[in-house]
Symmetry: none
Subunit: 407 residues, 2 copies
């Protein structure tokens, strides 16, 4: 898909705003989904003027994580462009991951030595406090900064978790990260030795082996966190940018690190937001509206309350967004799209596979005059059920940025 | 798709019942399809609580055979995993085909010899009676049991038809069966010599050549059936099992050999049924409900009456199933799916390409409150029009057996 778009895209002065209410889709509780229950007159009025439908984030029946779901929204096939666990963990901590980086998820663990061989007795080092974690990371980074010419950085996460970033002189490729986890997944076993599946990953594995040894020496006297276990080796995914593929000068308006991180992977500028509310996001949108073509705006709390099983609060976040929608509309963007990255039904308290409501507004819409913006009406909408990766071509089409395909 | 499912599937204690009413879909006669005309209050009530839609067995416009259609329902791409004609014919006769087997469809034929060369005068040996066929097969198998270390078995079909099964010491692969039919398709011509397209099939072709010669000697004095013509060389398809892909301990409740055969190919246990009715199938389901995760139940007569053009009887089979549905529901399976493998509209007296009504019931459904279970209402349903291969991921999702894709 992106290959075709690249060939037929052209630039113009149009503006596209994509609002992603995380986990927006629901299933009914007492006969209504969150979108149905919410009092959202502005969304309903816009749906009545727009093309609506539902999108499948990855595949029928597949419940996506946030990274995969966002790749789909951004038009990148989430199966072929899977972002590794290490990179996602790093993005979630707000760590910048660049084209030269491999990111790895780490646990501090407790081992006992028999002769000189370590055996894991606690895979999470008793879930040491985050402050302890920070002290230990400082101790390590004070002693190690490079191994075999490769820069090594450690970043504390919560409790026993941390992230390792290896920075190479050259750009990394997917061949670099074909390395087994060193976490044996069971206590009583020895940590596994990292082994690469090809020349490039073998080189990385050797660096990691040395790193694990060095760190085990530094941590030898720690009571609990005396070893590290590593998982999810993953190279920077080297995605082509929004500018290269779509010809869009794009920016991200989001408050959570993970979403800023994925946006950065596709070449969006990350905008500063004063505050933590939807209202402050809309303020940023207004302020920067002259400076970009494409605005990705992320609203987190619909998902958080869905995960909590808090139906009413999820509906209330929708209402809060609805109240601010007129301010977005008053900017007169050429295209407004409103959707979720996936469904998070409060009833299930988790992400789900259910298709996600989608609204696309522009001056060139068919019009089924929907009664409102919710799952069943969207199903009656103009777009039907589409793949998430179809959304970007539609937004470009509605903004007049695609030439004819073929003569 | 199955590659992804394999990675994210996990086991739990849920139960899934998939009821396949063969050839279920129809087209209207006097304004109603068979499903619409049938008085089926239980199906209608369940549809009102379920997610419904329609599925495309293979591709738009493609009318599938039963083997291909069932592969799709079972989640195996029916184009990439085509089951050979020989294997399908064998399964239809209730012959067990294993990973070491190649199956071939055979016709007894009449040839005349000019010098020593045979020329086909009747490709079906005057459609000899089945009893004659049995006598001749016995005569052959009394004289041949192995050629070149490969076991040879013949099985009588109806009239002039039979099946040959070659059993190798090693597992066969798709490379083994690239051999031309020996049937020249016209009288007056000589049977064709079997030729392989690679080393492996060349070896098989040589065995078959010897087999044909041996049999022609044994049948030399037969009045009509004095030669054999062979078609549809096909190796066991070596499909990964339900257990390997989906983590499901699955069984098949069916009365016809063909459906048991395809189920066996995907690793299902074939359950005994006392009797030949839908009611006896439901009895088996009840009896074995504690022993499996996944129950595939096949109802044949909807298709048979469709093929006969018998609209009323097809509707009556739907009513018979409807009457038994409460017994299935009373087992409280976590997921109930009801569909067909393809459409068999009575009006057409044949299989067709029309999308097939589909119902999926679980505790996590969206709900459009359909008025009933029939084609047009299903089109209004939550699922829209999907591929048959999407059904298995949906059933696994609804039963809580899939983890998130991506973090």
């Amino acid at each position: 898909m992106q290959e075709i778009i690249k060939q037929i895209k052209h630039r113009n002065n149009s503006k596209i705003v994509l609002c992603v209410l995380d986990g927006l889709g629901g299933i009914p509780v007492k006969g209504k989904t969150e979108l149905q229950a919410a009092n959202s007159p502005n969304l309903d009025a816009l749906a009545n003027q727009s093309e609506c439908g539902l999108h499948i984030p990855v595949m029928r029946g597949i419940t996506p994580g946030s990274g995969a779901a966002h790749l789909g929204l951004f038009g990148y096939d989430p199966v072929r462009n899977e972002i590794g666990r290490g990179v996602l963990e790093a993005l979630g901590l707000g760590i910048d991951i660049g084209p030269h980086d491999i990111a790895i998820r780490g646990n501090f663990a407790t081992v006992e030595y028999k002769d000189t061989n370590p055996f894991v007795t606690d895979r999470r080092a008793g879930r040491i406090p985050t402050e302890e974690n920070k002290r230990i990371v400082k101790k390590i980074t004070g002693n190690i900064d490079k191994i075999g010419g490769v820069e090594v950085k450690l970043y504390s996460g919560l409790e026993h978790r941390f992230v390792v970033v290896l920075t190479f002189k050259e750009k990394v490729s997917p061949e670099f990260d074909l390395i087994n986890d060193t976490d044996p997944q069971e206590t009583g076993k020895s940590p596994l030795s990292p082994v690469g599946k090809n020349n490039k990953s073998e080189r990385v594995a050797n660096i990691v082996k040395e790193l694990v040894e060095e760190i085990s020496k530094i941590l030898r006297d720690e009571e609990k966190a005396n070893y590290i276990l590593l998982r999810g080796f993953s190279a920077h995914p080297q995605l082509e940018s929004y500018d290269e593929i779509y010809g869009l000068n794009a920016c991200c308006i989001a408050t959570y690190p993970m979403y800023k991180g994925v946006s950065k992977l596709v070449g969006m500028d990350i905008l500063d937001i004063e505050g933590n509310t939807i209202s402050s996001e809309v303020d940023t949108l207004k302020k920067e509206f002259g400076n970009y073509d494409f605005f990705y705006m992320h609203i987190k709390k619909t998902d958080s309350y869905g995960e909590d099983g808090n139906f009413k609060s999820k509906a209330r976040v929708i209402e809060e967004f609805d109240g601010l929608l007129p301010e977005i509309e008053s900017l007169n963007p050429d295209v407004i799209a409103i959707t979720g990255d996936h469904s998070t039904p409060s009833k299930m308290k988790s992400h789900s596979w259910h298709p996600v409501p989608l609204l696309i507004y522009s001056g060139n819409c068919r019009n089924h005059k929907l009664k409102g913006f919710y799952e069943e009406e969207c199903h009656r909408g103009e777009l039907g059920i589409i793949n998430s990766t179809d959304i970007m071509p539609l937004l470009l089409a509605h903004s007049g940025r695609l030439s004819k395909f073929g003569a």
